[in-house]
Assembly symmetry: C2
Homo-oligomer: 455 residues x 2
């Protein structure tokens, strides 16, 4: 493991000392993945200075590892001639990503500078939606015919893979019209007799993606089937490209971010997940407001419930001050149950058919924790206010509240899933508010039944 922080500090010293030859040597010696981490820590002007010192190959490799914003920033700040040579060294899918993030006139000027074949292929990639297989795939795939022998294929790879800089995981078998017929793993290729025909050893039952398949589906397919690469075909089963697991790794991280955002009521439906953290402020506000607004309506309901008991509050003001305590703990334990169920449904560990099991289990957990906390709260309240009735009522409200919160928090995700609404999107704030409203109703009912009446 390397210590990025130490390296960054040493680089800064070298930059200051102006011993550029030494700096150039050091920078080019790092693995690009480490360089990417180092670049993240550098200031923009230091970053540019270091980028200019990289060899062309290294610079191109590095660009693939950098976040989109930094790619555009660095390529825009260096000599346009050098930038276009770096882009030319990128795999097609990475080149399309970089050019797709630029202003249109800027990317057009690069496309005009690039070799004709390369720029044509990249232009085609740019026509696909960037959130679909077409927008992610690499169009350069090594293909062979079903009639070739293993030796033919090995010879073909030797010449072809070298010249095209092709990624090599599987060899795809196509007919003359480029229809996908089968797939051959390198392992199979390396262990089969050289005279064997491709059609006799290829797998024709293929897991494949369609150019219009969306990100989340692509991630699911990779996670489920666990292949290193999947072929991408068009409507007519013509092979258009392939997606490799390192492309999916980025998508997977995005999906995870979306899942985490949604769990705290940040909407990723209308606003791209990148935009929320670093895009324009209007989009950030837009992504965060919808669920806050629903919370607002829900909490006004809670206010209404409390107001319904305003005579109780007037008669015994001390009861009002326990509201945050009950709402806070009910909300927290309910959120825990929601989180467990939503995540379980998302990974497939929890299924709709096991709903009853989990609702019972969570209710027992809620009752157990609720009882512990109820007793604690009752004792503390009694010790503090020297009012045994108040202690009992607050404690009782705590038990009921926490138990109900786990039950609602567990039930709701299943309910939403059953009516085909994604629980990850809709759950958190909605249920937390429902728990607040129900919790306050129970509390004030207990207070007005046992406490204010008896005084």
């Amino acid at each position: 493991m390397i210590n990025i922080q130490n390296i960054v500090e040493r680089l800064r010293e070298i930059i200051d000392d102006d011993t550029l030859i030494q700096l150039k040597e050091e920078l080019n010696s790092y693995h690009v993945a480490d360089l990417a981490d180092i670049f993240q820590e550098l200031k923009p002007e230091e970053r540019l200075q270091c980028f200019k010192l990289l060899d062309l190959e290294k610079a191109a490799d590095l660009v693939e590892y950098l976040p989109p914003q930094m790619q555009v920033e660095l390529l825009g700040d260096i000599d346009e001639e050098v930038a276009s040579r770096i882009i030319n060294k990128l795999p097609h899918d990475a080149a399309a990503d970089v050019l797709g993030d630029m202003e249109e006139d800027e990317s057009e000027s690069y496309l005009d500078k690039l070799p004709h074949k390369f720029s044509e292929e990249v232009r085609e990639l740019l026509t696909y939606n960037e959130d679909t297989a077409g927008g992610i795939m690499n169009p350069v795939v090594l293909t062979v015919n079903a009639g070739m022998s293993v030796q033919d294929v090995l010879n073909h790879i030797r010449t072809k893979a070298e010249e095209d800089n092709t990624e090599l995981y599987y060899v795809y078998v196509v007919d003359k019209q480029n229809h996908l017929l089968g797939v051959l793993s390198l392992r199979k290729l390396l262990t089969s007799p050289v005279t064997m025909k491709v059609e006799d050893i290829m797998t024709s039952d293929i897991v494949k993606l369609h150019v219009d398949d969306y990100n989340d589906f692509i991630v699911d397919e990779f996670m489920k089937y666990q292949y290193n690469a999947l072929p991408v075909v068009d409507l007519y089963n013509r092979l258009k490209g392939m997606i490799t697991w390192d492309d999916v790794h980025d998508l997977f991280e995005e999906e995870t971010t979306e899942e985490i955002y949604q769990s705290s009521g940040i909407s990723t439906e209308a606003v791209d997940e990148d935009e929320i953290l670093s895009g324009n402020l209007f989009n950030a506000v837009r992504a965060r407001t919808p669920w806050l607004f629903i919370t607002l309506i829900g909490e006004f309901l809670a206010v209404n419930v409390a107001n319904h008991f305003n005579h109780t509050v007037a008669a015994l003001p001390i009861v009002a001050i326990f509201m945050p305590l009950l709402a806070g703990l009910g909300g927290n334990i309910g959120t825990q149950s929601i989180t467990l169920m939503v995540r379980g449904l998302s990974t497939g560990e929890v299924t709709l058919s096991s709903a009853l099991h989990y609702i019972l289990r969570e209710s027992v957990v809620g009752l157990g924790i609720g009882t512990i906390f109820g007793i604690l709260v009752a004792l503390v309240t009694f010790g503090w206010q020297h009012n045994i009735d108040l202690g009992i009522v607050v404690g009782l409200a705590m038990v009921t509240n926490m138990t109900l919160a786990t039950m609602i928090g567990t039930l709701a995700p299943f309910g939403l899933k059953a009516i085909k609404i994604d629980p990850a999107v809709a759950c958190g704030p909605l249920i937390a508010t429902a728990i607040d409203v129900i919790g306050l109703t129970i509390y004030f009912t207990l207070v007005s039944t046992f406490l204010v009446k008896t005084m």
Copy 2:
């Protein structure tokens, strides 16, 4: 894409009809990844019935895709002879996982039945902590010597890979004492002249894992360097095995689950993440109680703040009922900021050095949303209670509360990170409670300054 639910229903019909030959044929025709999904949906007795109908190869492939509990359950319920033949067909790492999840006497009885070499290698794997590279790696790796020619290596693969059922991603170069010297990609191997020596084309600057490296580090290394497989060495740089990206895929999902659990205050430090959802109830309670307890203490602080203003509440009971509204919205928008920062710090998109930028950005977002909601709340309150002063005070409290909540929610993760505490573990409940306490203090101060005084 296949529809699992439809398949499950059809399978049930066939099971009922007792046309087992047809069922056997259908089951064996599915991809194991699909079969795993189908098995998830079946009831235990249906599952067992279907499992018994699978060919040995298919059954072994399927076992790798099933969750641990189901593996042990199915293998325990079938004939022990068949079970040991299935285990023998598993890759070493999968066999060790299955046996490690069984009771010790049960796994010992299987190990005695398995071929000596296989059981010895599996026994060695079982000595490693299952959360480290040693516990995850597959010990069967294809190795070659530096002096071999490309043609030698190709011949070696042809005989060796077939007989050992080796996974093939890279060829590792070792000396006579099995020290790791270099790595050779299949691509390099297939595109280099056959007379070339291994030592002239291998990469000797290798990213490698150590047998004692923990899960989270392994995931980080795979995500960072984006290789399909990484070699695992011991203290003396002797090659012990390799980890492939499909092993890491499971780890990655676990890491994500932990991150999501922690964000809602479910502790994954003392209790394994599997245990919380389906282990014994005591562990479930144990994982969920610590942060609830901290919330309890925090909320008693909030109660204390409110109690400090009990004369205010007594003089004007209506002010008390707005507490849930303020706490709810402050908590929600604060949680959003926490989520954005914690996730950003975890993916590396947000760094400590950019703290100031994000604190400013979030404060502006908080002020913007707070102003919108403050005006809304002021208008609704005025319309409802016909009290303009009350409307203004509640609205003002809302703006201040939401703005402060975003600021605290953004600042706290950076603060924790700076003092080397993982913000993912410590943040959520702590900060939510802090926001409650501060929010109520501001609210009651506003009320007693502008409202109760003027009445």
